[in-house]
């Protein structure tokens, strides 16, 4: 499997990389208490752009600011895009107040992607933590669209409480198809919850996959990804077949400004999806 997986196919929306293109909001969906999804489409044309699972866009709330958000929709749904985000700062707070018909500026798609094509013929284990399920969702769509090309597909999803589960209806739908193993766990729950309680790493030892022939995609809080990668390694998955999506403070999105520097790499340009063997020496280092 290739060590680097920069997106070759998708063309940037605008040839001038710092100019955004107007997109109109078609739908706002409240996913959980503090998380929402924007469904958007090009405002001035019927054509959008193609993207690869794991890539992100810069979303501009006019007059407020710009934030990087991973694309969470099915790549086949072009030109409609979905972005799921949590209300955490000034821009996402303003974004949450937008309504159907409002405009946003979009730059992208940027960054590296989940190596879905390279995982053909293997088991694929997807480990998501919290809102980390959003950047993995396009990969799940792609895997499920070509289900016969893969062996086992396992989704291990950990979140805070049952109320924080993202895309609940979709998870139920996928679970009903019986060709995708889905295990959900929460950190805490009332006794009425009938599912698993515990951190997502505890599901790895008993998850049904062959570690010698597995590609693993991880996205979530950095601490969760670190312990997940360690547990996958302990199970026998090779470092170079573990992929994770890093998050840093991005500004330009194209590797010019240096805000998202992570040791020797820029998260926006060299990532956000990295192989674990490239990131492992940097993980948990306070100085990086």
């Amino acid at each position: 499997m290739a060590n680097t997986h920069k997106a070759p196919a998708p063309q940037a929306l605008n040839p001038e990389p710092m100019f955004s293109t107007p997109y109109r909001i078609q739908r706002v969906r409240q996913e959980t208490d503090d998380t929402f999804t924007l469904e958007i489409a090009p405002a001035d044309s019927a054509e959008g752009f193609s993207f690869l699972p794991g890539q992100f866009n810069m979303l501009y709330v006019f007059g407020v600011g710009e934030v990087p958000i991973s694309i969470s929709s099915d790549p086949a749904d072009d030109p409609v895009l979905q972005h799921t985000t949590r209300v955490v700062g000034t821009v996402t707070k303003a974004m949450r107040l937008l309504r159907r018909g409002d405009l946003l500026g979009i730059r992208g798609p940027y960054g590296t992607h989940w190596p879905v094509a390279d995982a053909v013929g293997r088991d694929v284990v997807i480990v998501a933590g919290g809102i980390g399920l959003a950047p993995l969702r396009p990969a799940l769509y792609r895997l499920m669209a070509q289900r016969e090309k893969y062996r086992k597909i396992v989704l291990l999803y950990g979140t805070r409480t049952p109320e924080d589960i993202l895309y609940r209806n979709e998870l139920e739908h996928w679970r009903g198809k019986f060709d995708l193993e889905i295990q959900v766990t929460v950190d805490r729950a009332a006794s009425s919850w009938r599912g698993n309680v515990g951190v997502v790493t505890t599901m790895i030892p008993r998850a049904p996959f062959d570690p010698s022939n597995t590609a693993a995609f991880i996205c979530g809080p950095e601490v969760m990804m670190r312990f997940t990668a360690m547990e996958l390694q302990r199970r026998g998955v090779a470092l170079e077949r573990i992929f994770l999506s890093m998050e840093r403070n991005m500004k330009c999105g194209i590797g010019l400004c240096g805000h998202c520097q992570y040791g020797p790499v820029f998260t926006c340009k060299d990532g956000p999806v990295f192989t674990y063997d490239r990131i492992e020496p940097l993980f948990g280092k306070a100085e990086v």
Binding site: R188, A190, S191, T201, F227
Partner: protein
């Protein structure tokens, strides 16, 4: 009629994997099959901790009654996992409740019987403690991650 003994099944579980046959024989001498219906209580806080369990299928919720919050699940134990270590430490009382969340079956191991055998055979005691230390280590690590509240707003 073929009589199936517990030894090969116990030996094949991840928890007992790699253990010598003579130790497996001693351990299964203290073991029996158990089944619980959905919602059935397995043990209650304060009761005598005279067993530990190995879950073969199903899910067990480890719970605690928290004032103003109600019965709260702090952990679930699933297939291949061990439930209960209070049988190892005085005063041998459960600190939490355990309830089957769905139809569950597994093995129950008599703690008093095993403690006696461990006292008589320290190699067996070492093997058992080594395995329980791994369980304790894993649970402590998981608890630390849960305490970090990594999916909260500040992470």
């Amino acid at each position: 009629m073929t009589i199936h003994t517990l030894e090969p099944i116990v030996q094949a579980t991840p928890f007992f994997q790699g253990m010598e046959n003579r130790h497996i024989e001693l351990i299964t001498g203290c073991a029996r099959n158990v089944r619980w219906a959905e919602g059935e209580t397995i043990f209650r806080q304060g009761d005598a901790a005279d067993h530990f369990y190995l879950v073969r299928s199903g899910i067990v919720a480890v719970q605690l009654m928290v004032p103003h919050r109600g019965l709260t699940t702090i952990l679930t134990v699933g297939e291949g996992e061990v439930l209960g270590w209070s049988w190892l430490f005085p005063p041998y009382r459960w600190h939490f409740d355990a309830r089957a969340q769905q139809p569950t079956h597994g093995f129950a191991f008599d703690g008093k019987c095993l403690r006696t055998k461990c006292d008589e055979d320290h190699d067996l005691g070492y093997e058992i403690f080594k395995r329980f230390m791994q369980v304790l280590n894993d649970r402590l690590e998981s608890t630390r991650l849960q305490l970090l509240d990594i999916y909260g707003k500040h992470t």
